[in-house]
Symmetry: D2
Subunit: 118 residues, 4 copies
């Protein structure tokens, strides 16, 4: 998101004096709740979904993620790049394979080596 969008999210919380509700634990709950509302778009069908509804629920997840970044003083780029470095080491591109079953087994094999997924 651009700094302008992030600023809009921050101002929204500031203007309503809602930081008091934005404890990390409450925001973790909120992210899970909105993630489930996003999942609800695909509850009975993987392929027939309302894209407008998906956009709203995905936006809600992103807003609460930004709220959590803000409350904890974190930077999205920093934590994502740090995690991507781990992912790249854990799942070497040259071993990447095809079927869902192999995909899961591949990840499990790596896990068995003590490289736990977090």
């Amino acid at each position: 998101m651009t700094p302008k969008t992030i600023e809009r999210i921050r101002r929204f919380t500031d203007d309503r004096n809602w930081h008091q509700f934005h404890t990390p634990a409450n925001l973790a709950k909120s992210i899970s709740i909105e993630a489930a509302e996003l999942l609800e778009c695909f509850q009975w069908s993987d392929t027939e979904y309302d894209i407008e509804h998906v956009k709203e629920e995905l936006a809600d997840v992103l807003v609460y993620c930004q709220n959590m970044l803000d409350e904890l003083g974190l930077d999205a780029d920093e934590i994502v790049n740090s995690k991507m470095a781990k992912n790249e080491a854990k799942y070497p591109a040259e071993l990447a394979i095809g079927s869902a079953k192999e995909y899961t087994e591949y990840k499990n094999t790596l896990s068995d080596k003590g490289i736990s997924e977090e």
Copy 2:
């Protein structure tokens, strides 16, 4: 996130040929799963948590959100600004109030007016 970070996320999926697993439904499941792992950091205590663990799980949520934006051809700024416009209209700043109970009642009151939260 900066374009460079987003590009890193995209390259990770491209290099492993993992777009085949990234259906919108699978990504919605993945966002919920990672959101729950973030919630697990706060399972038994709201105040004692491992910040390094929180950073990793929050990063996982953000990465899967970006994956979903990519697969659906969506722009984070666009969907977030669209949702923030709705939020601003739904929760006027001048009505913002204090306690958690009033906060919930306030939101419920607006919901009762037919302004459902999504």
Copy 3:
């Protein structure tokens, strides 16, 4: 579950002095966390799953649900029958239909009539 199984769950908590952690809020988080672990069995495929893993995760959800019933002094049969009565009134059997799309539209139509799903 039989009274004997329920008693085993209760004794487990009693013997470890874990009621102190079993606040309703913590148990709600725990149910969501275990539900997500169950969902993880189906993260990348709807049809290929490890049934032994599914059994363990579903059991975890059931155990935390029983923990919540216990802490709140609730009876499973009572709350389920009360909810089933609402479901039966909300979704009349004679209107039941076939495709997933119609199913969702049917439920949405009822929702539009002010019969919100909870």
Copy 4:
């Protein structure tokens, strides 16, 4: 739940011809979705919640769990007792301790010994 309550849940699905929607994957999504609605009762406060709302959402989780047991031909007592046996071995009662921090560390210590929580 008593056999009569379970029978009511089964008849509800049968009468509406909804087994077609009750794939294990769809039910796993549904359990997560309802678990999140239960969590929503505690979104902004751990202590102020609407008990009637909690009862309905907890009932929804239980109903979808029963649906999954039914579709997979599983018995609640069997899978729960099997899991409780593992839990009892993993968390010996004589080691049970007091604070949330110790509780988490205790569980982590056991995990470090290769006794992973599932």
